[in-house]
């Protein structure tokens, strides 16, 4: 025999230790999240695609259509347009299109925004069978539908 009896006994003991550990795990509660039925809450710093922050006073967007985000975007995936409404000091946004197929979630737009009108959403269930769903995300329209 190549091994000493002591080695064999030690080896066998280590096998038993391994089995004790797995049996300990067996009786612990399971940690699986049954995904389609339940899902985890995303942490606060999760980066989904950008959405408008709502002005708590008026319920409208804080965006002043300054186009700083459009310029800051490294992948040119933001198109902003706005008008100056009567009786308002600032411009208001009329059009904010995000091409999420190109977005790399770098966060430059959120950082550069002078009025803090943009934030990351918590949405992560972003699967689709067609490109159109993410090709042109209309943030203004989204804010309107959320309002209803």
């Amino acid at each position: 025999m190549k091994h000493s009896p002591w080695q064999i006994i030690n080896g066998f003991w280590s096998l038993l230790t391994g089995m004790r550990i797995t049996l300990g795990q067996f009786f612990k509660p399971t940690v699986t999240v049954q995904y389609p039925h339940e899902s985890l809450k995303m942490p606060s710093r999760f980066r989904g695609h950008i959405v408008f922050v709502r002005d708590p006073a008026t319920g409208n967007s804080l965006c002043i259509a300054c186009k700083a985000c459009e310029k800051a975007c490294p992948s040119d995936c933001i198109v902003v347009d706005g008008i100056k409404r009567e009786g308002e000091k600032r411009k208001s946004v009329t059009d904010f299109k995000l091409d999420f197929t190109k977005c790399s979630l770098c966060g430059s737009c959120v950082e550069v925004c002078p009025t803090d009108a943009l934030e990351f959403s918590r949405a992560y269930n972003l699967a689709s069978t067609s490109k159109e769903q993410f090709h042109c995300i209309d943030l203004v329209q989204r804010l309107e539908t959320d309002k209803k």
Binding site: M1, K2, H3, I8, F12, L15, G18, M19, I21, T22, L23, Q25, F26, K28, P29, T30, V31, T32, Q34
Partner: protein
């Protein structure tokens, strides 16, 4: 009960087939649930309550698949191998005594019969691998032969040791000798041989190796050999190999129960024998699953070293020790 002999045998045939089938189906469920729990997952949950209908869904899926016989294979052997692997496994149940009265045939050489039929499945898996005309399957076939030859020796040496202690090959009588309290079980019979628990461990390891269970599943080494001898099999042909694997596990555990843990004998004297037999059997089956999900697969030379360098000398030593004890006391 007095049932005419032909009907009794037919009933046992149907009963054995149902037992093997249900065991194969539900041990897969237990295996998957167990695998999940050992890794703190939940295992199957979707089909039926707690995934209890999962085996039926699996069986339906396997049966709906085409039985492909690839071009160039030896079609006869290829189709025959799954049958040859399952039929001997069912034969072994003939002599296993489930209780005092529940046994198909009380044969005097029951132990030898179980061992002889139990070793046929090696040849069957080898045939399957050989007939597949696939390099992985052939490597697997070569492996399984050397593995099973290596582990049959210590297993039979252990069986001989037990034979010397019990003096009979009749499984019914072996169980009856262990009547009355658990201290009479062969596992605790230290007067016959102070190394009896070690004998059981050798038997258990050999049983794992003979049934190709992890950590000795060299025949179906997914990471190196795709699925080993079963690579080319599809549908129920593949399923039958799995049924046979679980049938062999059940036979190995029944044999361990009969030889070491007093078969149907109750340790405390309550409840019918069948209950105790099945309880002991399924505790051993659980331990097989437990071992599978604890240890990684051994390397092939490690497996052969374990048998030739440790188990065979150890079981020979136990054999000599037992005979010396019997001569002296």
């Amino acid at each position: 009960m007095n049932i005419p002999e032909p009907f009794r045998l037919l009933l046992f045939l149907a009963g054995t087939m149902a037992f093997v089938g249900l065991n194969a189906a539900y041990l897969v469920w237990v295996e998957r649930k167990g695998a999940g729990r050992f890794q703190r997952r939940t295992g199957p949950t979707e089909v039926g309550y707690a995934g209890l209908l999962q085996p039926i869904a699996d069986a339906l899926k396997l049966m709906s698949k085409q039985l492909i016989v690839p071009p160039g294979v030896d079609a006869t052997l290829f189709r025959l191998a799954p049958l040859l692997v399952l039929a001997p496994a069912m034969m072994c149940f003939v002599t296993i005594p489930f209780s005092e009265t529940l046994v198909a045939r009380n044969i005097n050489v029951g132990l030898v019969m179980v061992f002889s039929f139990g070793s046929i499945h090696v040849m069957a898996i080898m045939l399957g691998g050989w007939a597949s005309r696939n390099k992985y399957a052939i490597i697997s076939a070569a492996r399984i032969v050397s593995q099973n030859v290596a582990y049959e020796i210590p297993m039979l040496l252990v069986a001989v040791t037990l034979l010397m202690v019990t003096g009979t090959m009749n499984l019914h009588e072996i169980v009856q000798q262990q009547a009355g309290g658990f201290w009479n079980w062969n596992f605790f019979r230290l007067t016959a041989n102070p190394l009896m628990p070690v004998t059981f461990v050798i038997f258990y390891i050999c049983m794992l190796a003979e049934t190709n269970r992890a950590p000795f599943d060299m025949a179906e080494a997914e990471s190196e050999l795709v699925a080993g001898a079963f690579t080319e099999y599809a549908g129920m042909g593949f399923g039958v190999f799995f049924m046979a694997e679980y049938a062999n596990v059940v036979i190995g555990c029944s044999l361990a129960t009969v030889l070491f843990f007093g078969g149907w004998q109750s340790p405390i004297g309550v409840l019918p024998g069948v209950f105790w037999f099945l309880l002991k059997l399924y505790l051993l089956v659980f331990s097989v699953i437990w071992v599978r999900w604890t240890f990684p697969r051994t390397q092939f030379y490690g497996l052969l070293n374990l048998s030739w360098k440790i188990l065979i000398p150890l079981s020979l030593f136990i054999l000599v020790l037992t005979s010396a004890m019997m001569k002296l006391f």
